[in-house]
């Protein structure tokens, strides 16, 4: 079992219990996670090819052009897992720019659909490199809103080190589990704000034999998840 495989399963877990909602993804690991969830414990999940096609286990099952995505966003029948260039303790996310907005030191994508996603429906984040550069006290441009700004629900943050959630009284970020081989101290050191750390931090659950077989032989036979 590799770290990437643990992360795929941790991403899949974010959609558990969601029913017939649209899984939006940014990046290969969340995409594998959504497909794995659809194949196992979340069969009703809708998964797209990143453009206008709905897929069930890689085969076309429907059509969803961009304009129709916005209807699902507004209706709240979607759970997206976005990336984050910056993320704070309440789950405010920035993908727009680093530095002052008026003249950024680094212009990134722009806010994309993050404001609309986060106010309307459940959102999770995938952070491939957990570091104090991403987990910051204050984000430079609030793109996706956090719980202190009216987010619908920020459910999980999955990183290369750990799984975090917001199951605290003030809905700020909490360490939920550490991936096998990672210490709580490493996560604290890689986070630029004070996390809530429970007395007992469990390890992230390991992939089952069935999940490993699906990931390795079916979903990603060429091992792109490891690159």
């Amino acid at each position: 079992m590799t770290r990437a495989e643990t992360c795929v399963v941790a991403c899949a877990e974010a959609w558990r219990g969601d029913g017939a909602v649209l899984a939006g993804t940014a990046g290969l690991i969340p995409q594998l996670g959504a497909r794995l969830a659809q194949l196992t414990f979340a069969p009703e999940l809708l998964v797209t090819d990143g453009e206008a096609t709905l897929l069930r286990d890689g085969e076309v099952e429907g059509w969803l052009p961009y304009r129709a995505v916005f209807a699902m966003v507004a209706a709240g029948t979607r759970h997206v897992m976005m990336g984050a260039s910056q993320l704070d303790r309440f789950g405010n996310q920035n993908i727009s720019c680093v530095g002052p907005w008026e003249r950024p030191t680094s212009q990134l994508l722009g806010v994309r659909g993050a404001p609309g996603n986060t106010i309307n429906h459940t959102t999770s984040y995938w952070v491939p490199r957990h570091s104090p550069r991403v987990f910051v006290e204050r984000v430079d441009m609030v793109s996706g809103i956090g719980h202190d700004r009216g987010a619908h629900e920020i459910r999980r943050v999955i990183t290369n080190l750990a799984v975090l959630d917001f199951e605290t009284p003030d809905r700020s970020m909490r360490l939920r589990s550490v991936h096998p081989g990672v210490t709580v101290g490493e996560v604290i050191a890689a986070t630029g704000f004070a996390l809530t750390i429970p007395d007992e931090v469990p390890p992230t659950r390991e992939p089952s034999d069935e999940e490993l077989k699906l990931i390795r032989e079916h979903l990603d036979p060429h091992g792109l998840r490891e690159t």
């Binding site: 507004a74 727009s96 003249r103 212009q107 722009g110 106010i119």
Partner: protein, 289 residues
Amino acid sequence: MDKRMTIAEVVDEIRDGMTVGIGGWGSRRKPMALVRAIARARRRNLTLVTYGGPDVGLLVAEGCVERVVTGFVSLDSIPLEPHFRRARSAGTLLLTEYDEGMLYWGLLAAANRLPFLPIRAGLGSDVMRVNPDLRTVHSPYLDGTELVAMPAVNIDVSLVHLNRVDAGGNGRYLGPDPYFDDLFCLAAKRRFVSCERLLSTEELIGSGPPQTLLTNRSMVDGVVETPHGAHFTSCVPDYGRDEEFQREYATADWNTFRARYLDGDEDDYQKAVARWRGTMDDYQKAVAG
């Protein structure tokens, strides 16, 4: 009702300082032949309304743009647009940054001749901070919900690229997504459609189901046939994105790129791309031994 035009005639309709809407999405089905022609004509101080891709980068690199109204600028397979990034960091480009759904709503409001449409997107985010003119409204009904009053995004001239069009402006998309091209046309005072192939109305109607017709002639003022006119963005099923050429665009020194690909007309551009493609193929054959 013959609305056929040349590329030059379309560009003549665009004057310095205008607000220009550009269809497509990211690096997908962009009216690049028309975009290139605007760059060559050295239009200035344009405001672009777009789901941004290389249309933004190319016009920004050529100094044609004062402001971009968008939710993102991306080349898809290359996530960040290098020319857009450079101009933003240099402080030479103004930005009206909206959530993608807000931009959709703004186009919808303009298309429906409404001053605004209410939407949740934007509330609580820094989109409100960087757009201090945005206002909210409260539902007049019992719920009293606070919503963003997304203003109509009104456009002077819109440019879109479709797969098949007739001389009157009835147009069909053959790819998987209409994007927002119909709304760009409905939100603009003047509307120009470039296309891969110009067909007779009879051929157009015979070539597919009616629901894949995206524009009707009342939505279009001019039509221009530009084969490979979306290059290097995708225009499926006619062609996919030219990833190798997009890398060339994203990484080449701009003056070199301009001299090689933009200094002539659209015909010269397509020939230069074909020559570059031949060189690439020779290189790859040599590498393959």
